[in-house]
Symmetry: C2
Subunit: 574 residues, 2 copies
Amino acid sequence: MRTFRLAMAQVNMTVGDLNSNTGKIVAYIEMARAQGADLVAFPELAITGYPPEDLVFKRQFVKDNLVKMHEVVKASKGIAVVVGFIDADTDVYNAAAVACDGKLLGVYRKMHLPNYGVFDEARYFKRGESCPVYVINGITIGVNVCEDIWYAGGPTVPQSRAGADVIVNINGSPFHAGKRTFREKMLATRARDNAVHIAYLNLVGGQDELVFDGGGMVFDPQGNVLVRGPQFEETLLLADLNLEPARAKPQPSKDKSVLEWQTKPAPVIQATGRLSSKPKPRIEHMVVEPRDELEEIYKALVLGTRDYVHKIGFEKVVIGLSGGIDSSLVAAVAVDGLGNGNVTGVAMPSRFSSEGSLADARSLAHNLDIELLTLPIEASFKAFLETLTPHFKDSAFGLTEENLQSRIRGNLIMALSNKFGWLVLTTGNKSEMATGYATLYGDMSGGFAVIKDVPKTLVYRLCEYRNTLGSKPVIPQSVMTKAPTAELRPNQKDEDSLPPSPVLDPILKAYVEDDRTYEEIVGMGYPEEMVKQVIGLVDRSEYKRRQAPPGVKITPRNFGRDRRMPIANRYKPY
Amino acid sequence: MRTFRLAMAQVNMTVGDLNSNTGKIVAYIEMARAQGADLVAFPELAITGYPPEDLVFKRQFVKDNLVKMHEVVKASKGIAVVVGFIDADTDVYNAAAVACDGKLLGVYRKMHLPNYGVFDEARYFKRGESCPVYVINGITIGVNVCEDIWYAGGPTVPQSRAGADVIVNINGSPFHAGKRTFREKMLATRARDNAVHIAYLNLVGGQDELVFDGGGMVFDPQGNVLVRGPQFEETLLLADLNLEPARAKPQPSKDKSVLEWQTKPAPVIQATGRLSSKPKPRIEHMVVEPRDELEEIYKALVLGTRDYVHKIGFEKVVIGLSGGIDSSLVAAVAVDGLGNGNVTGVAMPSRFSSEGSLADARSLAHNLDIELLTLPIEASFKAFLETLTPHFKDSAFGLTEENLQSRIRGNLIMALSNKFGWLVLTTGNKSEMATGYATLYGDMSGGFAVIKDVPKTLVYRLCEYRNTLGSKPVIPQSVMTKAPTAELRPNQKDEDSLPPSPVLDPILKAYVEDDRTYEEIVGMGYPEEMVKQVIGLVDRSEYKRRQAPPGVKITPRNFGRDRRMPIANRYKPY
């Protein structure tokens, strides 16, 4: 038995920033070498950032990424490195380079290309057809990429049969609530079934609508967790694995039901480089407790918001504070992600705003210690009405006038954004995005929709969670208890237009996320008319969602790349 | 030799409208039978409309579509029918049902699933694995779907080898300029190479950003065009084919380079139903001249706009008329698509608007015989400035104040939209969408962006083309000749901010549509600084495009499903 020290760099990359990404990779190689690691792994497409989307079609981009991959190979002096990059011959591949002591040992090409949900990998990549193992410092290593490990019959099978002691599985696996637990169970099963160590490494950080949660893990061949790293943080994870060099290589399977490449013995590639022979005092393995659900979601919102703002080159944000629960949560997330000095609130009271709303906005701003501007909309509202009234003639006050107020606010906040270079964070939640209970070019105006994937009932729970942090609650109690209202006409309440959230949200989840049929949803115990109303609202609001800003995905299906519905669509599910 | 009468229903379907689509199919079956046709074909996914996108994930939708398919089979009394639908077992398939005299003869499942450009078929469908031929009234028919015919080694090969006399290829093939010619050449080659008749049938109509141009064609085994139907119109195309029944069936190829299913003989399925034995007086084949490029594009814009407006349930539209070339073209398209009574223009002059602009808007409205409302923005602009000035302090008039005016216009036109139920058509062209020369929530506010895929230079050419139609020009000469301006500050000209269109447009095409590298574009003869400026503008405007309304795709790559770029993207191509 000998000890193989494995390092996993759980890093936050920026799509397209090849120089900075490569610089970070080289710095982490130094750190891993200083720690006496035999091998350091980096996430899927670490060099380009993930997902690079249509950048993959730019030949120059792929070429530049290849140059960077060779820089990383050069930097692998005295250590082995596994790093995600785009490989290219006449096609392009989502690949992992395996380098050892300054030489490129081989390239593994991802075999299972996800093309569902938010993923479009069949659009970009050709699948790999070989799954070699690498012998490094006497230890046999299999490398594969993300989706590859989710298939029970994936490359882990022939790699283990070829004698791999460790499978290094590098990922760009986006977060949604509940995925971590599921992922851990799957990986434990995979390790046990193949009697192999599995090292799972994931990106960390936000990219447009996605948040990668990190959460790297190492499993022993019995499926026990040896290492469990933190989520939502950059870190270098270390594991000392006790391995038997020159493990016997069982014969390949004769099972005809598996694909051809699974029945062929995996090629064995032998590294010749000299690795660090530093003495290795035994290290403590990090095994963090998984975060609870609300903490996990809140952290995802904070990281997703911070990274979006910073990665597109902003520092400061501005948020319309209505005194309601949604804008309160968004403000708290923004302050936690960016710092209170980088967040400005704007109250934009109208003739219909209550004193209580303004007071709530003020006490929230006070609690979060952020600046609050007050820009009344009455003067602009009057001017618009004067311009429009001759054309409207005697028509009654209605949706037009409600939207007008919301759009004046959108215009004011965008003026602040343009003048001061503040990114506008919008405050609509998923229940509103689903039902179209929002004004296009009004409260939907902005660069990032922080909670667009958070259902209203979860907004409340997250506010309660946030109020348990720190020395005192930041979101005023009155915000948590009053009935939600858009305050666009006298005595308006959300529940005049929509079913109450505790009823609305499960219907929305069933219809939007779980593709339940009308009959199934009625069968869950909801009144037929209500189910029809909700389905109708969802289907008729597609045009609004198509023009909404991106926001953090936290559910298994968000409104974005995850859900691609036609706008012109006359399907009636009832 | 005998005559086989083939009918092709070039029909306009609505995504999700299973009842209406099926009703139209049944009506066209009647028409074809009345014409003595042996077989009538319908386009790809005719029952569901194309592309159904994520509706495919709704089990009820797939079930409902299967019920409709069986209704079509029942309606096939005395005739054979080929119709596109979604087939399902444990997976789902993009399929064609082949029915004869009230019985389902078989189902062909599409083998080549496009997953590039606007297509996501690998997201939805499993590929088929068999390509049978059907013997109907003694004639051997091969059926395949769209992409299948684009591959030289596709199912047409084994189907022809199995003795098919005719390949019926049903399509949902979206338009872009130049595609028709390319398609005709490819089909002629395919017919010649396989010595088989090819009947190409395509959907017609608009669906969100796509326009299907129809343009059905029939080729003889020498690659000659026997039938060429019109583009952009519904029609029933007829072809009398002189065929030899019981054609000899050559042996399957032993060529190892082709896929396994290509080397197996295609299964032969024999129809037993009785087809119409009406006497068939010889018919004239329709062979229309292909439209020229400008006419084709103009028709695509008209059809795409009409269908979007109608399919989402609107009748009337409203357009902001600035007196500029873009809004003039959009108004002409709208009038041609919807009728002058359904189009309202709005002039929204500001303190910076010239008399000439307003006069041009008026004469355009007069020429098109549409109503023109005038809503000055000065009062609202003043009110906004009064509200904002205390916060802006002594900052100079700039982009903020320019955007403010554009957003006031957006707000006014949306108020008209909300009050009167008019859909707002936006007027930005592709050069503006590419460079971000547009105001989000301002002139970008609206439901449909008619010319968002039309580069500025093509806008001029289309206006000239439109002015050649009818008895007199509709777009005033002064609109065609004056320098483009946004009129958001004194003496503003587009060319103060952007290279002139004849230079800008080729750079944009090279970068956006052709994925040319910086060096290649400079190599085309453009100054380095200019190329950098344009690339920078394109890359930094992704966030705007993501919130833009859909519009008609007329180029090989539009801004929409065709181009999926990250917003947070730090790649610098120079």
